[in-house]
């Protein structure tokens, strides 16, 4: 088919931050599907909780302290996370490297405390359905956490190599910030469901 050029796009930039980048939209897509998974798991938990009048099924209440510490760590981590985002937008290598190291450490810290969360549930997954559901919820979020921390560490290493000096990499840092927000956000309802809902019953 014959062609007639009507548009010159040679001046367009080669990368864009946030919603200008396809990767940001892909990340959003994965958040949507993972969020749906979380919502359904939480829904299943609530479904069982409303079905059985004596929910918690005579199990002891969980010790909320490890979970509360994780919550505090995650909420606090949002501050450096967003400072990092500002530097990523400006493509400032020095502060971004520092920020990525800080975020890797702030990802590992809740994982360490998470180790103590499982015994603090005061029940095993195979004791009854209540135990199963809170292990499943905690397990789901832990998988989430491990995946994102792994991703953050790899990206941190990458930013210390010559590959880091690229608009795309700074865009990746921005998307990593975005995803961490999601990891923190999904934890709040799960925290309430695991540690505070059983105290209502």
């Amino acid at each position: 088919m014959n062609q007639r050029p009507v548009l010159d796009i040679s001046d367009l930039p080669t990368f864009g931050h946030g919603p200008r980048s396809p990767t940001w939209w892909g990340t959003l897509g994965f958040m949507a599907l993972e969020g749906t998974g979380f919502a359904l798991a939480a829904g299943a938990y609530l479904y069982l909780a409303t079905l059985w009048p004596n929910w918690r099924l005579s199990a002891p209440v969980p010790n909320h302290w490890p979970g509360t510490i994780v919550t505090l760590l995650l909420v606090v981590s949002l501050v450096p996370n967003h400072i990092l985002n500002g530097y990523a937008k400006r493509c400032a290598m020095g502060p971004v490297r520092i920020g990525m190291v800080v975020m890797s450490l702030l990802g590992l810290a809740p994982l360490v405390v998470r180790w103590f969360e499982f015994p603090a549930l005061n029940i095993y997954w195979d004791t009854n359905a209540y135990g199963s559901m809170i292990w499943v919820l905690l397990g789901l979020h832990t998988t989430h956490l491990i995946t994102d921390v792994g991703d953050t560490i790899v990206l941190t290493v990458l930013m210390f190599t010559h590959h880091g000096y690229s608009g795309r990499r700074f865009g990746d840092v921005g998307d990593n910030v975005f995803y961490w927000d999601f990891v923190v956000l999904t934890w709040i309802p799960i925290y309430l469901l695991i540690y505070w809902l059983p105290r209502l019953g």
């Binding site: 930039p13 069982l48 400006r90 195979d126 690229s166």
Partner: protein
């Protein structure tokens, strides 16, 4: 819209500086396509976008057309296998008390038939069609996240192999395609058969979700300049809505199958009522996916119909906006119907009434679509060719399936015919009528684009009539035998019930239907080898996939089209307006804004890589191992992490670095 609007500075998003600031290595600018002659442009682009030669090269391909072709062929092979399951069952049921197949094998056969048709054929083939066509129709050079797309294919293949090798080893799932607990649970489902079901689901859903995300981003961010939301082709709208439905529905079945395998493998009690769980929870979770699943299969088919009808009616679709809104409405409503699969479980009456109402409600947007298509045909000058014949077959069959659907939406009737052949007849009318017939029409319609050759029209007509007669002969009498009380999923029946003759008739129809597919397969092969050359646009259709050669080159378009109309090729018959300024030595494509499709970024698309295959092998092996021990997840994590790092680590190409 004129091209001037597209370059108007006012309309561009803020912050569009061309010179990047900050700690970024300067772009190593390469040759651009501006003013380049056609021969040099082709040489450059062909070298930049080619799939490397050799076996490793072929396994590394990230070209959406190559991946889609593999998907289509694989899904067609699974269709054949699932069809053979069905023929085996029909031979067994052709007379009372036949001893050909025993109950154990029969259970595996109907489960494998359902699982194969739903998870290994229907969803993959509609997604594969989208992988091939969506990037072409929106005027871009590759799908978004091409490596993720390749990964999706490999995971799908390994899931299909896993299920069928298990079946060959007599450990195929035997608990029905929806695998209800407690039958599939630890107490009543010994051995590994139910685990095979659960993990096969996980494989195929990972693959569907990956493709859905890639499709959504392609449609939202990679549309050709000027293709604002109101100029997106209906087929692309259908795939977009479908992909959103996948994103919100598929996690439900992954959660279901994961909960099931946890109950079976590590002793959780999620579905165990004796320890505070609940068996009905399984059904809720499964059908929260299972009902949208029907629309995941059906909506792309409506998109195909909306492409075929304008091409043969010789006019744009009547009620474009109405058709788009219907697609979106069906997408939303599909999430509000799942409980109508559970009317026989003794739910509260009010709940059942709500789901009856919503089940009837969804007939409204579907009806709107049907009337828009009829109006398009009425107002046009229809040219009756094989693709349009299959669309007529779709109307006839799908409307019957829709009517029995409205019948089944009422609780008393549903209770009466629950788990009988009436239901089997209904869902085959809906699925084959609603999806397979449009797919067959689409095969004839787009085959010339994919292969560059035409399929035989004469064989096509034979195929259509054989399929139509065979299908109706096989499935219409099932309504009757269902009303007589014949339950589904029985491996035989006694002679005294008098169901022998009608079942023999059904089996004869099924064989005829199968023969029609043999003819189709012959027509495919014959067309690919000996068909008459098709040219770029054999049907004189109006959407962008027909603007390029058949088959399209690896880079799809020598220059990215600029879209001015919903049927761009009809609006611009003299010469296609195009954009210039992309680099030709790196895989550049245009990223545009979501609503208006203003060109925004020159982004680079990923190069071929073997890592998606290696990652899929690591993931597949982990899933396989996990039916034996939960430690598989721990052992599998390391190879998965290594392959993912290999996948994402930059290799020094301009595509990685800039």
């Amino acid at each position: 819209m004129s091209s001037a609007d597209l370059t108007n500075e006012r309309d561009l998003p803020p912050g569009r500086e061309t010179s990047a600031t900050g700690d970024i290595a300067p772009e190593r600018d390469g040759p651009r396509d501006t003013g380049m002659d056609d021969a040099s442009l082709h040489r450059w682009l062909a070298r930049t976008w080619r799939t490397p030669p050799g076996i490793i090269g072929a396994l590394s391909s990230v070209d959406h057309k190559v991946i889609a072709r593999r998907y289509l062929i694989t899904a067609f092979l699974f269709l054949c296998l699932g069809g053979l399951n069905a023929v085996a069952m029909r031979v067994q049921l052709s007379g009372p008390q036949r001893g050909l197949i025993g109950p154990d094998l029969y259970n595996q056969l109907f489960t494998m038939h359902g699982v194969t048709m739903m998870f290994l054929f229907a969803v993959p083939i509609v997604q594969a069609t989208g992988i091939y066509l969506v990037p072409l129709m929106v005027g871009t050079r590759n799908i978004a996240f091409p490596r993720l797309n390749a990964f999706g294919y490999w995971v799908y293949v390994s899931g299909g192999l896993f299920a069928w090798v298990s079946f060959a080893l007599s450990m195929g799932p035997d608990v029905g395609w929806f695998a209800y607990v407690p039958l599939s649970g630890p107490e009543f489902g010994p051995g590994k058969r139910a685990d095979v079901w659960a993990q096969m689901i996980t494989y195929t859903e990972v693959s569907s979700l990956a493709v859905a995300v890639a499709t959504i981003v392609t449609v939202l961010k990679q549309r050709a300049p000027g293709m604002s939301l109101d100029k997106i082709p209906l087929y692309v709208w259908a795939l977009l809505v479908t992909s959103f439905v996948v994103v919100f529905a598929m996690p439900a079945v992954m959660i279901t199958s994961t909960f099931l395998i946890l109950d079976r493998l590590v002793g959780t009690h999620i579905f165990n009522p004796a320890e505070g769980g609940d068996a009905l929870l399984f059904q809720h979770l499964f059908w929260f996916f299972g009902h949208p699943e029907v629309y995941i299969i059906f909506l792309p088919a409506t998109g195909m119909v909306s492409s075929i009808i304008p091409a043969f009616a010789r006019r744009p679709a009547f009620g474009h906006l109405g058709l788009v809104l219907s697609l979106i409405a069906v997408g939303f409503l599909s999430f509000g119907l799942w409980v109508h699969h559970m009317f026989a479980t003794g739910l509260p009456k009010l709940g059942a009434s709500f789901f009856t109402a919503s089940s009837m409600l969804i007939a409204i947007p579907n009806g709107v679509q049907i009337f828009c298509w009829l109006a398009t045909l009425w107002e046009g000058r229809p040219v009756i060719r094989t693709p349009l014949l299959f669309v007529f077959g779709f109307f006839f069959t799908f409307v019957i399936g829709g009517l029995t659907g409205v019948m089944l939406a009422s609780v008393p009737l549903d209770l009466q015919v629950h788990d009988t052949y009436f239901v089997v007849a209904h869902f085959h009318y809906v699925l084959i009528g609603g999806s397979v017939f449009p797919l067959l029409g689409a095969a004839y319609f787009w085959f010339p684009k994919i292969t560059g050759r035409m399929m035989s029209e004469r064989l096509g007509r034979w195929h259509f009539w054989l399929a139509m007669i065979g299908f109706n002969a096989a499935f219409f009498p099932m309504h009757i035998v269902g009303l007589w009380g014949m339950p589904r999923r029985v491996y035989t029946y006694p002679a005294e019930l008098g169901w022998g003759n009608i079942n023999l008739f059904i089996s004869a129809g099924a064989v005829l239907f199968f023969v029609s597919f043999v003819l189709f397969a012959f027509n495919l092969v014959h067309g690919a080898l000996r068909g008459t050359p098709a040219g770029d646009n054999p049907w004189d259709a109006g959407t962008l996939e027909w603007a390029t050669s058949s088959p399209p080159p690896s880079y799809n378009f020598a220059r990215i089209p600029v879209v001015t109309n919903v049927e761009p090729l009809w609006a611009e018959r003299e010469a296609l307006p195009v954009a210039a300024g992309l680099r030709v030595d790196a895989r550049e494509l245009i990223v545009s804004t979501v609503a208006e499709a203003h060109p925004d970024v020159r982004e680079k698309s990923a190069t071929p890589s073997i890592w998606p295959l290696l990652a899929a092998i690591a993931v597949g092996a982990t899933f396989l191992y996990s039916i034996f021990t939960p430690w598989a997840i721990i052992w599998g994590a390391a190879p998965i992490a290594v392959t993912l790092v290999g996948w994402f680590w930059p290799k020094g190409d301009p595509e990685d670095e800039e």
